[in-house]
Symmetry: D2
Subunit: 351 residues, 4 copies
Amino acid sequence: MVKVGIIGATGYAGGELVRLLSRHREAKIVWYGSKSYIDQKFSAVYGNLFRIVDASCLDDNMEELSKEADVIFTATPQGLCASLINEEILKRTKIIDLSADFRIKDVSVYEKWYGIKHASPSYIEEAVYGLCEINREAVKQARLVANPGCYTTCSILTAYPLIKEGLIDSHSLIVDAKSGTSGAGRGAKVPNLFCEVNENIKAYGIASHRHTPEIEEQLGYAAGEELTISFTPHLVPMNRGILATEYALLKKKADGSLPTYEDLRAAYDKYYGKEKFIRILEKGVYPETKWVEGSNYVDIGFCIDERTGRAILLGAIDNLVKGAAGQAVQNMNLMFGFPEEEGLDLIPMFP
Amino acid sequence: MVKVGIIGATGYAGGELVRLLSRHREAKIVWYGSKSYIDQKFSAVYGNLFRIVDASCLDDNMEELSKEADVIFTATPQGLCASLINEEILKRTKIIDLSADFRIKDVSVYEKWYGIKHASPSYIEEAVYGLCEINREAVKQARLVANPGCYTTCSILTAYPLIKEGLIDSHSLIVDAKSGTSGAGRGAKVPNLFCEVNENIKAYGIASHRHTPEIEEQLGYAAGEELTISFTPHLVPMNRGILATEYALLKKKADGSLPTYEDLRAAYDKYYGKEKFIRILEKGVYPETKWVEGSNYVDIGFCIDERTGRAILLGAIDNLVKGAAGQAVQNMNLMFGFPEEEGLDLIPMFP
Amino acid sequence: MVKVGIIGATGYAGGELVRLLSRHREAKIVWYGSKSYIDQKFSAVYGNLFRIVDASCLDDNMEELSKEADVIFTATPQGLCASLINEEILKRTKIIDLSADFRIKDVSVYEKWYGIKHASPSYIEEAVYGLCEINREAVKQARLVANPGCYTTCSILTAYPLIKEGLIDSHSLIVDAKSGTSGAGRGAKVPNLFCEVNENIKAYGIASHRHTPEIEEQLGYAAGEELTISFTPHLVPMNRGILATEYALLKKKADGSLPTYEDLRAAYDKYYGKEKFIRILEKGVYPETKWVEGSNYVDIGFCIDERTGRAILLGAIDNLVKGAAGQAVQNMNLMFGFPEEEGLDLIPMFP
Amino acid sequence: MVKVGIIGATGYAGGELVRLLSRHREAKIVWYGSKSYIDQKFSAVYGNLFRIVDASCLDDNMEELSKEADVIFTATPQGLCASLINEEILKRTKIIDLSADFRIKDVSVYEKWYGIKHASPSYIEEAVYGLCEINREAVKQARLVANPGCYTTCSILTAYPLIKEGLIDSHSLIVDAKSGTSGAGRGAKVPNLFCEVNENIKAYGIASHRHTPEIEEQLGYAAGEELTISFTPHLVPMNRGILATEYALLKKKADGSLPTYEDLRAAYDKYYGKEKFIRILEKGVYPETKWVEGSNYVDIGFCIDERTGRAILLGAIDNLVKGAAGQAVQNMNLMFGFPEEEGLDLIPMFP
């Protein structure tokens, strides 16, 4: 039984970690860390867990926690994990960081987009980018995993096989993403009030959202060259779910013809054919976020628009599961040699 | 492995049965019955089940189905189950009817409130009202279970211990209930369109809703006398969840004093103290439907209003789980001797 | 042209006052008071008013404001208006207070339910309770109007004629009310976040909500005696709207018979027959909050439940219009002799 | 007083026409046409209009109606207006068609995308495309106006000045649009049920939506050449509102440099500077659909993404107002010489 500590357990991603790990047969939560609710019953913060979790919240003391836990999840704001980590801790425990601190290899890019100084740049090199389906083998060996962002998980996985196989012009890639409001966290801010979000849709972070360089870096590895994309997130009046609509020009094949639907399908099958958590939908079927709600699935559909020579790709995830806590658990499973789907065998809920 | 057939598998309650039974370790669905989607892949109707359920829908042939299944769930409109049932079928298979056909013992009451003639009144006597926490032992012996209605499950369980113990005046009981829209089913009707329900709340079935006599009958058994209640359902712009707010005058105890909070608490503990699926919340905490979403829990909170001499009771369930499919599976578990929580060990999802 | 000042213009009720007054032909806003947004453009706070309101926010200086405005609306937290008001101000300007400070005649009741000391008890006697349809003549003479609460407006108007005419037993009255989330204001609090409210319904303030004594006082005047009611508010995942479902035992008439539907209808017609803003729905039709959204209407429907001997009354308003800003403007119209519907001739928006 | 007839008055666009025209000082509705609700009170279909509209619904008899009305709005499915129109009718009355029948000049394009034969191709030439801000003078002379589609109104107006001025590469234009559910109409279809739409987002009509050729034709006129765009609509869980997010490569200016923010702003100001209903937001502010809800405004924001060389344009409208009924009334005002904003002087409602 692996002992698990969570720092930031009372945020939405933290709460979702608790939901998932409470049914995990190989893991046991020993530390519910929270800055705001120390000494309060965890189930007083999340009433859904009444009579399921009996523990109270502890502080965010990573030093002490590292002595008790085999693995620590940090579901905390940017900068915190980097400020707490050190060699002593990493020798004692594995860390899965749900913040952005170790996602981006180029520290100057991190510091520019996030506007803060990185407190532990020396660990960036070692950290493994925990996109399980792409970096599975590296994750297995890691002691520090950078759990990908929600938008990035969805955006990258939706385009990855086509870029890897050179079927689309990666410089033409545009990602128009739509997210439920839990992605904004549980902080008490006016823009996230019910009355501000409900019956409303807006874009935000236009040409400036922090997930942009993360997508660019990872898809750049797939493309074998640096690339620049347009990424526009939108806030949708729903709790959970991300839908990414992606546009890219098709790239001519060696024989001068444009790729067909079957070419694209073959690329998806090549990389994802055996993946439990990625479902390539049937031709003509496109993802709906409701179909993945509460689960760790990524649903992907796509088509070729012959009129414009573009591929249109659509991917959907539950931002709190595959986009945060679920993928973090999947990473833990890989790191500890558990079956990859342990604790994640969740059927999406409809309606 | 018990073989399960579902008639009406493509309605919301039917779809929820599929979700729950797909993770049940002792049951296997062998028949996905549907009037509207015969020969279509079940996962084409419910995209959430893509790659989880591979079967196609069959017709609603109970005769044939009874030869293949050990138990049949009928998640169908009123009247259908009663019209199909017969001794041959009941000799071969158990039936859990999610419609109202066998819930009400007095056939004239059924026929008056439902406005249809009962096709199999001879089985009413035998049928067991499947409110598991109240009728557990009878359910274990049953071959025909009448699965309770969604409003009724919530309304009855919330008041039952207090009526049984004579702590409230059952003639003064008023149930003001609020339900998510999945309770209205998946039929294509204008009043259930998104734009009609969203940003709106209304009452319906005022002084005439069909769940009224069902509540009255069951609470009448608890009271040991016939009773008449006011029951008003409301339609709330959310998918799932029922909240029942109940008002009743406190009944003087033998010593002439009014019952205290502790008296009421003791009654709840007496009847529900060992129940896995009923959570009596702590003093001052009242249920929210979100806390039970996706789970089989019933959450109950209550208080005494000394100014008015009333008890105010609040109960919450997920109408599709404890209010329909979950309770049906719980009944199946009882009927076949499985652990009562098998397939129902679901943690509510928040947010 | 009446000059209007608003203190608390950037809350939801304040913003609604701006929306309504911007189309009022006899009024002109000269002061947009705000504690949080001083010197910021009002339209930067409420983007809907871009190019409609050009002014910037000022502070909440009632002293100075009273020299510039003919009437001041205070859409502020409890206690503020009472703390600012004085004879100098009232000699210069009329005040319509949207807080609870002057609604309750018994200062000890106010202090008990609100938990604060009243700073200007000497003005309570003078203040007119601004429920226009009931107190129209007094409002016309008032210099200080206590604008009723949202729940109270809906709850009182729905029951008033029946209590006034002695058709129902006022001691048996139970008000189960449901409100959209704008009633909770624009403060940044976790319980009002989108993800906490959406897909959820809960009761709050059970047996303790502050609108209770306000309803009791006003209905007590109608009954001609003190009365005690049960009042339970619920939070509904929608922006606007209040629905009050009210239950009361019918009171025998002089001849010993129970009142009929027609008796109740006659009472409603007697008091509301000429009211522009109160719509008594046709028999068998019950209000939906969507039907009054954005307007100053009160919709009322009712029925007699012969089985239980109760009347069930339903009333609906838009909490920000008739429940706050609309009624405040209606009061202003009365106080200044304008046509009562000026600025309020709004057609509800559907969907 | 202009006499107005509405065919299809009980759909959502028809209902909105009634809402707007009921407050229009120069128009009077004389015919509420409806296929489904003949002889029923209009206010029984739209409860919001109780006591505001007293009339009952009539059939969809355009022949007879044309003898009574000065102008007819057809808010009906594709094909109906074209099948009813003839010279006799057009001699007697003006027609504003809210369907697509007369929007596309090339009848073969219409027949290909809509899959129906056009019944009156001879009137296509004469029909004026009623995008008021672009075709104002032609509308004034028209007797047959093709009222633009909801997506198209928003998509075209957002990009028009930049294409007209050659600031963006029109061949690179991608429109990713998001719409509230009222755009799907009031037909009783499973995909539009509350439980299917709520807590969900999906794309539909991918690379095949019928508004695509309409956008292409109109923007082609602005570009001075044919163009092909990618257009992807999405269904959002809200009642009203369209947000269009548009991407296009900036086109080098004569001096070889890329256009600046100020260049784009100047283009918007040139075409829309005097438009009452188009609001160009301030730099760094982007539209939210809630800010235009219930009004005839188009809100536009934009930025230059220097990293990618693209302009990102965002436009928002209320799909039932500027996207349907509001623009239709605006067209009527132009055709009859009324002030263009008559009946449309609506302040958006927030929240």
